[in-house]
Amino acid sequence: MKQNLNKIFMGLLLVMTTILVACSGEADSTAADDTITVYTSVPQDLIDEFSAAYKEANPDKTVEVFRAASGDLLSKLRTEHEADSVEADVVWVADFQSAETLKDLDMLEAYESTEKDQINSNLIDPEGYYYGSRIINMVLAYNTNVETPSSWKDLTNPAYEGKVGIPSVGSGTSFSYVGTLASKDEFGWEFFEEVRNNGGKQFSNNSDVAERVATGELSVAPVLDYMVTSMRLQGSPIDYVIPEEGLVMVASPIALVKDSEAPETAKSFIDFTLSKEGQEIMSAQNVVSVREDIEGSENVPSINDVKILETDLDYLSENNDEITAIFEEIFTN
């Protein structure tokens, strides 16, 4: 008996040592310059598909992914920056303002992508620090079992009382959306206060909100268009309208991190994202491409045909901290 127990115990120790040795070996290989780490707020399934496609095109490269909301990413990057141990090689966030924040912190490196000429020039940072990689739009999602809304103001409509959601401003797209509406006279912060008074609640991010609209926990909410489209195509009772005031357009930027240990791999990943092949993956996911040589998906109305509620990027960058603080104050009371 005792002998057996000894064996079991020694066996456990052996297993552990093997695992430890095996993974310390793994850790060594990640230091090489053909491995990059991408910090992104792109949904898990999309980034998984993307890195798999990149890996297939470049079998000798490895892409590691840290996925979190834009706000969480910025906070982690800032912490790493202060400790002088930045792990990211590429950042791929949801909104221009997040990229601007990193640029101001001197954490980005300008880079001329090989795909530059094919991309809508409005979506490229004039100094070349970041590139819009996909166009995503904040639209008004609703559960198809309730009355169809028509305007952003429907978020304050008593018909939906208690069933109104909004992604937290920790999400870059939501930040852009909130900032855009707050800067307009017809909305302003009073609008968000009314949303809150109508029982509006904040949720962690867009996909969470979209799921809840699909299950009926929420009736209406501002959400990213492509998430609604893919859920609708799967048969979920969800759809969206482009509100009469217009949708809020967000161009998710990708950028090279300063002092990357694998700059060449990082650049090739960025180029791949912007390439025809990469953009076709986007298009298949019902996301609008930034390339002029790619036709939109049939499920997505062309960006030229819809009304857009213009975003004032200067307002966003000047009022960065205030937008977060006021939103938090309204939705945590």
Partner: protein, 560 residues
């Protein structure tokens, strides 16, 4: 004091240095950080924290949910313990089984499961809405009431176990005496039974309260949408808010409130266990007076079984059903059920696969390292007569008494800078999580091994020494074999909770270094409830396997 060979002193010295590096250093750093403002010593952070009116709201929320859930856990846990140990209630085996399940399930999984049943679109709510033909859900698990409910469910088992022991060790002749002198059953309860189990009630109350005020998963999953913040979730939120310049300093100051509460709890715990309790444990009379429930027996049996089914089986069923549905929100009819989610997380989603490997590596290595270090420390505490060795035991138990959020913060602050000599930082690697786990769980190994070491008679070791064995031979041939039950028990006591640890991991994880609980948490945050449920079921299975293995090994050891 016996002559000590130099070599064994070196072993103790290394162990003590490790403890200093692992535990004392991070604790000093976090206290220091809370006093730093713009690299200068100041009280500014505390002024900021205590001038902010929301601090008081959050503190109040923390105290409110922890106090009420502790109270409910005490009532449910001790009543059940009384029914099982002292009355003729039926189905005691099943009741014991039903009580142990919520204890095994990590509280954040419990919160997720309850959301499947009583969330706005939970199954129970949907059934009720169907039958009553209403549009509005009857219950909502979100918000303070739900947090209190789930915390109660997750912590009443501990009260049950601690008070059961007290009930079993109690000499019932006192009760009999009171009854014979004409006291009514209620008077016996109030004047005899209750005072006898009071120490264990107090003791479990402290443990449950500190555990609940340190809980992160439950208030985070059930409180965020209602904007209901407690101290742990607020600290997490602060650390993730890039718009606040000195978020680390503010978080450190805020976490000092939790440190004060935890240290006070630890002190209270020491005080209560060392205070002379009612020693009415007698060796002879083991014949327990069993109280007959009479005509209430079937009724009480029914209520207890229904209650336990509801709080321990139903939530697992809820999360199990969700893990089988094709898309979240679909009615779980046969057509909509499949094993796709399991296939997806086990074979397709790299993040989920990785998290399983990572958690297994972390739990195995943390348990092994903690047990090795813990055995040396236990020996040092129980078998040597160095001055101040009790202080070591106090220091080792400190991190476990602290909320995981504080431990993680201390670890980040202490280890983010590149290490000297090798010039790389363990921040952003799996190893920082390992360091945190060892720091946090070390005390469990020390307690477990110590409990077997104190039972070991000194004469055995003296005999070995007299026959010329040195310290290492003595360790190998006498101490280790004899303390094996404690070592194995300690290993599993660390392995099992480390497998599902969330609070520390959620602050320390980095790309490729997700743990299972981080993966579950992130999946549910992205609204991918079906995958989160499937991964939760895998985690629950692993925990059950771990427990069965521990039971099996313990039984084998006892038989020897």
């Amino acid at each position: 004091m016996k002559r000590l060979s130099k070599r064994e002193n070196w072993v103790y010295l290394v162990a003590l240095i490790l403890i200093a590096v692992l535990i004392i250093y991070p604790m000093i750093i976090i206290v220091q950080q809370s006093f730093l403002s713009e690299d200068q010593f100041s009280l500014q952070n505390y002024v900021n924290v205590f001038q902010n009116p929301t601090t008081y709201d959050i503190l109040w929320n923390s105290l409110f949910v922890s106090t009420l859930s502790t109270l409910f856990a005490l009532i449910i846990g001790s009543s059940l313990a009384w029914l099982v140990t002292r009355t003729d209630i039926k189905g005691k085996r099943w009741i014991n089984f039903g009580v142990i399940i919520p204890f095994l399930i990590p509280s954040f999984i419990s919160a997720l499961s309850w959301r499947q049943l009583l969330g706005p679109v939970g199954y129970l709510n949907k059934i009720i809405m169907y039958f009553t033909n209403t549009m509005e859900p009857l219950f909502s698990i979100d918000g303070p009431a739900g947090i209190i409910f789930v915390m109660t469910v997750s912590s009443f088992s501990l009260v049950f176990m601690m008070t059961s022991t007290a009930f079993l060790n109690m000499d019932t002749s006192y009760e009999e005496a009171a009854q014979i002198s004409g006291a009514t059953p209620l008077q016996v309860m109030r004047d005899v039974t209750f005072p006898l189990i009071r120490p264990s009630l107090f003791s479990s109350a402290v443990l449950v309260f500190v555990a609940n005020i340190s809980n992160f998963g439950v208030p985070s999953i059930l409180g965020f949408h209602e904007s209901y913040f407690v101290l742990t979730t607020k600290i997490y939120d602060l650390l993730n808010d890039y718009t606040i310049q000195d978020s680390f300093a503010q978080a450190s100051s805020l976490s000092m409130i939790l440190v004060v509460i935890a240290v006070f709890g630890l002190w209270l715990q020491y005080y209560l266990t060392n205070k002379k309790s009612y020693k009415v444990i007698s060796g002879k009379s083991t014949q327990k007076m069993t109280i007959s429930l009479g005509k209430y027996r079937p009724l009480l049996t029914g209520i207890v079984c229904l209650l336990l089914f509801f709080i321990s089986i139903a939530p697992i069923l809820g999360i199990f059903v969700t893990s089988l549905t094709k898309a979240y929100g679909l009615t779980p009819t046969l057509d909509n059920l499949s094993l796709d989610n399991y296939f997806h997380i086990l074979f397709q989603m790299p993040m989920a696969k990785r998290s399983l490997v990572n958690s297994l590596i972390l739990a195995t290595s943390a348990a092994t390292i903690a047990v090795i270090l813990g055995t040396i420390v236990s020996y040092f505490i129980t078998k040597t007569d160095f001055k101040g060795r009790q202080v070591v035991s106090y220091i080792v138990s400190l991190p476990y008494a602290l909320p995981g959020t504080v431990v993680a913060l201390a670890i980040i602050l202490a280890w983010i800078k590149p290490l000297p000599l090798i010039n790389t930082s363990i921040y952003n690697t799996l190893w920082i999580i390992l360091v945190a786990y060892v720091m946090y769980y070390l005390t469990l190994a020390v307690q477990s091994v110590s409990s077997t070491l104190v039972q070991m008679d000194r004469s055995l070791e003296e005999a070995t020494r007299v026959s010329g064995a040195n310290w290492f031979q003595n360790m190998r041939d006498v101490v280790l074999p004899l303390s094996k039950p404690g070592i194995i028990n300690g290993w599993f006591l660390i392995f099992i909770p480390a497998l599902s640890e969330l609070t520390i991991s959620i602050l320390l994880w980095s790309s490729g270094n997700e743990t299972i609980s981080v993966a579950v948490f992130n999946l549910q945050e992205q609204g991918n409830m079906t995958a989160a449920s499937a991964l939760s079921m895998v985690l629950i299975s692993l925990i059950v396997i771990g427990n069965q293995l521990l039971k099996y090994l313990t039984r084998r050891l006892e038989r020897n």
